[in-house]
C-alpha cells in the first residue's frame, strides 16, 4: 500500500486547541498516524512548506454537485440537499447522487424525509440509507403537519439518521422573500417576521424531546433561534445547528436595490440578529458552518427580486470568510475545523474530518493569509451568484488530497 508522509505542516487538528508541528502519515486512503511520528523509509515524503494542514472541508447542505467550486474551496465532501429537480426521495436517485463526484469528490446525499418533499407521506428512508443516504431532510421547506414531523423524527431516529431541518414556519414565511423590517418596507417586498425561525425550532424541539431523535437545523440565523438551541443543548437533547457565512457578514440591507444575489433562504436578518449569529459561533452554539452552495445563473437571478430563486454560490468563499472568525479572535483555527469538517462528519456518520488513525485521508493545505478578491465574473462555480462580489478576502486551499491522492 502506498505510504505518504506529510512533513513541515502546521497541523490544524479539530481535536486540538492550537496549531502543532508534526507529520501526517497516510497509508492507502487512510490516515494512520499524526504528530511526532517517524517517517517510514518506504514512505513518499510531501513537504507542506509551512502551510496549515487540515482535514478537507465537509459541506453540510449544498444544492449542487459543483466540483470545480468545491475543489477551489478546499471542500472534499458535501452533503447534497434533497431539493433537486427531481427531489431525492427514492433509491435510484440517491445511488446516482453518491456516484456523481467520485473519485475525487464525495457526495453524501440527504434523503428527502417525505415523498416529493411535500411533507405528507414518509419516503423510503431505510432503503435510501442502504443506497448511501447519510441523513434525511425536510429540504428547504418546513413540514407543516406536526403529526408527520413526529413520525418522521421517530422513524429516522430508529434508523440512526439525523433529520436535517429547515427552520422557518411555513405559514409565516410562505410567500415571503425578505425579513420584516425597514428594508422590506422600503422595497415593497413580501416579508415574514424573523420569529418564523424560532417558531419552527420551538415546535421541532418539542418533537425531538418526545422522540429522542437527533435533529440538525441547517441554518439558524436569529437570536431567538439560538436561545432555543442553547437551552435544548443544556437540557441534553440531540440538537445541532449550522450557519453560512452570509448570515455572519451581511444583514438585510444587502438586498437594497433589489440585489437578487442577496436573496437567500432563510432571508438575511437585521443587524441585531447578525450580531447574535457571531456570538453564537463564538460561544459554541453553532456546530457547523456550511456554504449552502447553490449556483444560480442569470435565468434564475436576473429577475425581479421576488421572482428570483433564493441561494448563493458559496463554496469558493466558505473557507476564506470563515477564516475571518479566526483572525477576529472569535475562535481558534482548530475549532473552525471542527465546524467545517469534524462536526459535519459526525452528523453524517462518516469516518472523515479528523486526524485520528483510520480516518479518511482527505486533507487540504491552507495558506491562511493569501489575499484574493472575490469576483463573480471569474468563479470556478457553475454560476457567480455571490453577494460578496469584489470583496477582498484572505485564505486559500493550496493543495487537496482526497482519499490519499493529491488532485
Amino acid at each position: 500500500m502506498t505510504k505518504i508522509a506529510i512533513i513541515n505542516g502546521k497541523l490544524a487538528d479539530p481535536a486540538g486547541d492550537a496549531l502543532t508541528s508534526g507529520t501526517v502519515l497516510i497509508e492507502g486512503d487512510r490516515i494512520v498516524a499524526t504528530g511526532a511520528v517517524d517517517v517510514p523509509t518506504d514512505a513518499q515524503t510531501i513537504d507542506a512548506q509551512g502551510l496549515v494542514v487540515a482535514p478537507g472541508l465537509i459541506d453540510l447542505g449544498v444544492f449542487a454537485t459543483d466540483k470545480p467550486a468545491f475543489h477551489f474551496g478546499g471542500i472534499t465532501r458535501a452533503a447534497l440537499m434533497p431539493d433537486q429537480r427531481a427531489p431525492l426521495d427514492e433509491v435510484g436517485l440517491i445511488r446516482e447522487a453518491t456516484r456523481a463526484g467520485k473519485p475525487d469528490f464525495w457526495v453524501h446525499p440527504i434523503a428527502a424525509a417525505t415523498r416529493g418533499l411535500k411533507g405528507t407521506e414518509m419516503a423510503e428512508m431505510g432503503l435510501m440509507q442502504m443506497a448511501g443516504a447519510k441523513a434525511v431532510g425536510t429540504g428547504r421547506q418546513w413540514i407543516a403537519d406536526s403529526g408527520v414531523m413526529l413520525r418522521v423524527l421517530a422513524y429516522a431516529s430508529g434508523l440512526g439518521l439525523t433529520l436535517i431541518a429547515h427552520a422557518e414556519d411555513g405559514g409565516l414565511s410562505a410567500k415571503a422573500v425578505a425579513t420584516s423590517g425597514e428594508t422590506a418596507t422600503r422595497l415593497g417586498l413580501p416579508h415574514a417576521p424573523a420569529c418564523a425561525e424560532a417558531m419552527a425550532i420551538a415546535r421541532d424541539l418539542m418533537l425531538v424531546r418526545q422522540t429522542g431523535a437527533a435533529i440538525h437545523f441547517r441554518l439558524v440565523t436569529t437570536k431567538a433561534g439560538f436561545d432555543l438551541i442553547r437551552a435544548a443543548k443544556a437540557e441534553g437533547l440531540k440538537v445541532s445547528c449550522g450557519i453560512s457565512p452570509a448570515y455572519l457578514y451581511l444583514n438585510d440591507q444587502a438586498v437594497t436595490d433589489f440585489r437578487t444575489f442577496a436573496r437567500l433562504s432563510p432571508p438575511l436578518r437585521d443587524e441585531r440578529d447578525r450580531q447574535a449569529c457571531l456570538a453564537a459561533v463564538a460561544d459554541g452554539t453553532v456546530d457547523v458552518i456550511t456554504s449552502s452552495h447553490d449556483p444560480r445563473g442569470p435565468e434564475d437571478k436576473r429577475l425581479p427580486f421576488a421572482d428570483a430563486s433564493p441561494g448563493m454560490a458559496g463554496a469558493e468563499t466558505l473557507l476564506a470568510l470563515s477564516l475571518n472568525l479566526v483572525r477576529d479572535g472569535q475562535l481558534s483555527i482548530n475549532r473552525l475545523m471542527t465546524l467545517l469538517s469534524a462536526n459535519p462528519a459526525k452528523i453524517l456518520g462518516v469516518d472523515a474530518g479528523s486526524f485520528a488513525s483510520g480516518s479518511a485521508a482527505d486533507l487540504i493545505f491552507i495558506d491562511p493569509d493569501a489575499p484574493w478578491i472575490v469576483d463573480s465574473g471569474k468563479m470556478a462555480a457553475a454560476a457567480g451568484n455571490t453577494p460578496f462580489d469584489r470583496l477582498p478576502v484572505q485564505g486559500r486551499a493550496r493543495r487537496i488530497m482526497k482519499g490519499g491522492l493529491f488532485l
Binding site: G181, G188, L189, E299, P304, F305
Partner: protein
C-alpha cells in the same frame, strides 16, 4: 418622526442640475427641490391643458414613447398615452396580454427588444417590486416607473402632491392621512416619502394587518384606528383595497372594513372642516369610500387628481427627454 430627510434648502440650480436623473424610478431617489421642480413644470402643463382647446405641443415630435404595461391598467396607461401625444411623441402601447411574456420570454429579453427598437422613453408598469429598475439598467433611454409591485409609483405621488399644493398652497405643517391598505400599496410608499420630503406631517392609517413594519422610516406616523388617524387631518387620502385582500386573509370582510375604515361623511367630519378627500382610483364605492364623500363637490379632489396626472406625466416626459433633445443646459 426620525429626521432622515435632507434639510429644506433649495440650491441655486439651472439646466440639468435641476434634475440630474436619467430615469424616474422612485421618489426615494429625489431631493425635495427636485420634486418641487417637477411640480413647477407640471403646473405649466396643468394651465395649458385646461386653458386651450388645442393642447398639442410638438416638443417630443419624432420621438418614440413605449408604454410597456406588464400589469393591467386603464387610467395610468391612458394618462401616459395622452401625456405623450400632447407633447407630440409617437406613442406605442404594449399590453401584457398581447406581449411575448406569455410565450415565456424573460423580462430582460423584453427589455433588450424594446431597447433595440430605439425607443426614446419607456414607461413601465410591472407587478413585481424592483422589476422596473431591472429593465432601466438594461436600456439606453430614460425609463419612467408607472408602478412596480408594492414598491413605487412616483408619478402618482407627484400628481397627488400637485393636487394638494394647488388646493392648500403649501405643505408646511399640513396633516395628510394616508388610509387603507398601506402594506400592499406602492401609491402609499411613494406618497409617504414625497409628502414627508415636502414638509407635510404624514400619517399611515391602516388595520394592523395592512400596516407595513417600520413605516416610520418612510416618514409616516402609524395609526391603527381610523378616527384617531383622521383627527385634525387637512388631507384624507384613501387607498384602494384589492378584492383579493377582502376575503378573510388580511381583513375579515369588506363590510367590516367599511364599518371600521370606510370614509363616510360622519368619519370625514373628524378631519378638519375643509379637509380634502383624495383617492388614486379605481374606487370601491361602498368599501373604502362612500359615494357621498367621493362625489362631494368641494371636498373631493378625485377628478382633479386625474387631470393633474396628465400634467405631471407631461412634465416628467419633457424633463427626462431634455438631454436627448439637446435642450440648452440639459445636454
Amino acid at each position: 418622526m426620525p429626521d432622515i430627510f435632507i434639510p429644506d434648502a433649495t440650491p441655486e440650480l439651472t439646466g440639468r442640475a435641476l434634475f440630474p436623473h436619467r430615469h424616474l424610478l422612485s421618489i426615494a431617489d429625489l431631493k425635495p427641490w427636485e420634486i418641487r421642480f417637477l411640480l413647477d413644470e407640471a403646473e405649466h402643463w396643468a394651465a395649458t391643458n385646461k386653458g386651450q382647446a388645442r393642447k398639442h405641443d410638438g416638443r417630443l415630435a419624432g420621438m418614440t414613447q413605449i408604454n410597456a404595461f406588464f400589469e393591467n391598467s386603464t387610467r395610468t396607461l391612458l394618462s401616459f398615452e395622452i401625456a405623450g401625444k400632447r407633447l407630440g411623441a409617437d406613442v406605442v402601447n404594449m399590453a401584457a396580454a398581447t406581449s411575448s411574456l406569455k410565450k415565456g420570454e424573460t423580462l430582460i429579453d423584453t427589455a433588450m427588444t424594446l431597447n433595440a427598437m430605439a425607443a426614446d422613453v419607456i414607461v413601465i408598469r410591472h407587478a413585481s417590486s424592483g422589476a422596473v429598475r431591472l429593465i432601466a439598467d438594461k436600456v439606453d433611454c430614460p425609463v419612467l416607473n408607472a408602478g412596480d409591485g408594492w414598491h413605487q409609483h412616483p408619478t402618482q405621488a407627484l400628481l397627488d402632491a400637485l393636487t394638494i399644493r394647488r388646493r392648500k398652497g403649501s405643505f408646511e405643517g399640513l396633516v395628510v392621512a394616508i388610509c387603507g391598505d398601506v402594506l400592499h400599496s406602492r401609491v402609499a410608499r411613494s406618497n409617504m416619502l414625497c409628502l414627508a420630503a415636502l414638509g407635510a406631517q404624514v400619517r399611515a392609517v391602516a388595520p394592523p394587518t395592512l400596516l407595513p413594519p417600520e413605516v416610520e422610516m418612510l416618514g409616516a406616523t402609524p395609526y391603527t384606528r381610523m378616527d384617531e388617524g383622521l383627527e385634525g387631518a387637512d388631507v384624507v387620502m384613501m387607498l384602494r383595497l384589492q378584492n383579493e385582500r377582502m376575503d378573510g386573509a388580511f381583513i375579515p370582510s369588506a363590510r367590516e372594513y367599511h364599518a371600521l375604515y370606510g370614509l363616510t361623511p360622519e368619519r370625514l367630519a373628524i378631519a378638519k372642516p375643509d379637509a380634502l378627500v383624495m383617492h388614486p382610483g379605481p374606487m370601491n364605492r361602498g368599501v373604502e369610500i362612500t359615494s357621498t364623500v367621493a362625489d362631494h363637490p368641494d371636498r373631493s379632489a378625485i377628478t382633479e387628481q386625474v387631470a393633474m396626472g396628465v400634467a405631471v406625466r407631461m412634465a416628467c416626459l419633457d424633463v427626462l427627454t431634455r438631454s436627448a433633445r439637446a435642450v440648452e443646459g440639459w445636454a
